[in-house]
Subunit: 386 residues, 2 copies
Amino acid sequence: MKPSKPIVRDLGEFGLIERLRQRVSPGPSSVLVGIGDDVAVLRSTAGRLLLATCDTQVEGIHFLRHTVPPRCLGQRAAAVNLSDMAAMGGVPSWALVSLMLPDKTPVAWVDALYRGLTEGLERYGAALVGGNTARHPERIVVDVTLLGEVDEAKMVLRRGAHIGDFIVVTGSLGASKAGLECLRVAPFMAQEAARTLNETEDATLDELEMACGDAPSQGEAAQNLMAAVDRDTWMRAVHRYWVPEPRVQEGQVLAASGWVHAMIDVSDGFLGDLAHLCAASDVGAVIHVDAVPVDWACQGVAQALGQDPLLWALTGGEDYEILAAVHPEGLDHVLQAVAQQSAVTCHAVGRIVPRDQGIQCVRQDGSALEAHWGKAWDHFRQEAAS
Amino acid sequence: MKPSKPIVRDLGEFGLIERLRQRVSPGPSSVLVGIGDDVAVLRSTAGRLLLATCDTQVEGIHFLRHTVPPRCLGQRAAAVNLSDMAAMGGVPSWALVSLMLPDKTPVAWVDALYRGLTEGLERYGAALVGGNTARHPERIVVDVTLLGEVDEAKMVLRRGAHIGDFIVVTGSLGASKAGLECLRVAPFMAQEAARTLNETEDATLDELEMACGDAPSQGEAAQNLMAAVDRDTWMRAVHRYWVPEPRVQEGQVLAASGWVHAMIDVSDGFLGDLAHLCAASDVGAVIHVDAVPVDWACQGVAQALGQDPLLWALTGGEDYEILAAVHPEGLDHVLQAVAQQSAVTCHAVGRIVPRDQGIQCVRQDGSALEAHWGKAWDHFRQEAAS
């Protein structure tokens, strides 16, 4: 008989905390006290503003355990917070993680989650400095609080967009939605995608596959999807969904340019977050949908499933790109600055208009597109998306 | 037919956030941006260290909905974090609240929770500046992150206790455990206790009673308890359990005295937290149990239920008093300083000894008490305590 794997209950709360503490690097010299005392003690840099944000991943709502490897979930939990900070032009510094776990959670699962969390934070210069663990009867919950700093002169908020501003978005849209749909139709893709990550990153296959072993077997829809899109396409979609790339550097470049009036990150869907930015700025917007950067993986997967790629790009959610309102005279400067300092391209996709014009989506020929932004993600109105 | 009460699903996520935003005061001038943008923006005071802590209340683990009014739960969620900060001598400033809710949660319940949260924070000078809401299929989770500041010269950690130090504890111990036991034996006490809070504080009865209406009816054990203790006794116990009083001011006075080598707050039980302090400081401790300040409500309830009040005081948990290791030459000064600046009394209850002596509990006659500190609260090893 195989010996059973250790579970969280075997460690106890303090054993778990000690184990997590050992796995977190001591952090930069600004961390005077990290994990292991009552409070994390952080030395703030004089003259900069402190930023604080938090975001949660609830099992069954934000993720399903059998369709995301724990290491990717950790990276994702970091990324969604980093993205919020990026949308202010902020510099991420410190994170606290509040972890709720059923006592039967395998310790190896928690280890892989923490590996992903620390990787995801450290890649962008942030350190894990504290947190809390609690028992939860049935679900895993990962709640991350991220702290950071910003120069007051460089900070950009949601409010502040002016009529006439260009609407700019980083990178591409819709790939995350495509990944979600891939995993919904063909959950077994998770295992294959985890295997590929293993080839490209320094991880044990065990860490990546752990959660994906018991995925349901494939049906006809899954077979059709596999036949219609190539491996690179669905793999990109799944990876983008698992581990979004927060635009931390791009947010800082945009904010530092001096030409950006307002920013927000695209978490609820492009049109949904545009609506938030417009509401905060008391303006409307016209989007030229033919200029919207639809991700190629979104194109491929949506077409294979008989869906509209543009609709996914506009409303899909969880892309974690940055949406900015840019002074018209500064557009060229801003696009060039991001191109020079980042591998990510910015696209101008519309203009800010008076509030009474609402939010319109138009094609090149001037015809209006039926906008579905009212369906953007809302936790208390939609069913679980994954 | 009575119209049904609004539930969270009716508001949607953004409606809920907007509602919460309206109920939170704009806060002090140090809050440049509070709820409603991606990140809270906070101006830190030059020359002070930033402190950050988080703690979680999970329904069914840390509380049962039918035995705690939502407003008290909010105050409690604030208090447990404030207590962590108090144990460093810190000054609480800002809080973020991550809220997970089943979509059928009554909006009035959430309103009362937030009222309690803001009351509980503002009483100690802290402001609610941001957070996150997410849907949870079956349980309410309230996760609070608290930020604060401290002068580097005044900060006191868990580590640093010296051999020969006096062990000092604020206030009294065991009342919270007594309240928990009251509610376990006689859940209907919750409704009566809520009614009393209503008389003494500015609250609608609805807010306080909301959660307590459907408590199970009383049995024989409950009748015996009601007969054996007077109303003031069990009422105090229940109130102390619901709304602990974090020793924020006392923590600051202790830290500022310059005589305190180490501090921790009593959340896991006096002996459990003493063990944490001793481990961090690489020392042992002798506790003179006859000097331990057993709360009078703990005395009354424990005796009525045939339990040992001293055991409850030493191991009960959730008292949120402060435990400090004080330089022997500074003891008188420290006790006087707290007495002068606070209504709470400090008691010297033991001494720090070399590590190899472990943690001992002795009576006045020198006999040893069987210590049960190994049973102190541990989320992953114990069953739900409430």
